[in-house]
Assembly symmetry: C2
Homo-oligomer: 193 residues x 2
């Protein structure tokens, strides 16, 4: 149940066995079924969720009821509405499971305590955030400059899993395309092979 977490932390910092055992005690394990929500837009996001198994997505809903995917989270990733989680304000995102999933939840206070108890955990969080930030910057750049096809090709080469495990229309939304456009893009790509 904590394999992915141990792996993820181990990639960034080193914890002793005792530290990791202590670390575990701050998390709340939770199973969630496909299509269930971990967070509803408008609620306060009280958890930072680590995905041990499954996939989650966060998305906003605009005035027309149109969903807009912000992030996918596979095994070994974190997901939350960071703004709401940190400030305690209302969330603008909804977080939902795309498969039956197993999560490890960290509340705001547990997170603070954990960072105090194990300083390396703060480093771990900072390092994760740094990588996430870099990834977002390149995503912005691609969103602003690339064509539909380029965006899709970049995505599939970086994250091949996305294509196989996630419904097309959600991928389209993540890329800022309509489902119709993504369908046509895929057709074009296949025709050329």
């Amino acid at each position: 149940m904590y394999e992915q977490l141990e792996k993820s932390i181990g990639e960034k910092v080193t914890l002793s066995t005792e530290e990791f055992e202590l670390c575990k005690t701050f998390f709340i394990p939770k199973k969630i079924r496909k299509k269930q929500t971990l967070l509803l837009e408008g609620d306060v996001c009280t958890y930072n969720a680590f995905v041990e198994k499954g996939i989650l997505r966060s998305y906003t809903t605009d005035e027309k009821g149109h969903e807009n995917v912000i992030q996918f989270a596979f095994e070994g990733w974190w997901i939350t509405d960071l703004s709401s989680f940190l400030t305690g304000g209302n969330s603008t995102y909804t977080i939902e499971a795309l498969e039956d999933s197993e999560l490890l939840l960290l509340t705001t206070t547990a997170r603070e305590s954990l960072m105090n108890a194990i300083p390396a955990f703060e480093s771990y969080q900072r390092l994760l955030l740094q990588n996430a930030y870099i990834a977002l910057q390149t995503r912005i750049n691609s969103a602003l400059t690339a064509t539909a096809e380029e965006k899709y090709l970049k995505l599939t080469t970086y994250y091949p899993d996305i294509v196989t495990r996630i419904p097309q229309h959600m991928v389209a939304s993540y890329l800022g395309l309509t489902p119709e456009t993504l369908s046509r893009v895929r057709k074009q790509i296949n025709l050329r092979k």
Copy 2:
């Protein structure tokens, strides 16, 4: 010379006077003139720069020699090519001054030492990064869903300074628009007033 830095740190964490004095010693003050570059694409980014005075921008250059603005940094902001700075790889961004500017530079090693010497500084860095990450997420959302006019209006209400202190064509680039389109958008907005 350290007013903005003191203010920025003070907004996130509390440092004693001695700690802040110690903190200062890790930075290298540097003045840079308008149009000079702090970092050239392809070089290794050895500094994380804090802007005491002036404005900088980071941008990429694509195959066609077209510049694409990633970020602006006003007084009190940080700017760097985070990926290059952290990994030591070649940078993909160029960083350039838009006005005569005063910077405080932090090398990779100085940053590590500083975080060790003053743990609160690591918290400060993490908190900054959290906010930057949240801002980037909303920027992505806007980039993917908003029209040209919506993007521009959001930007001007959030950062009124940008309009007055930054050339139009760079604002256009930041928003992923051509200069012509931004010009027309502004015209439309003015006609309606």
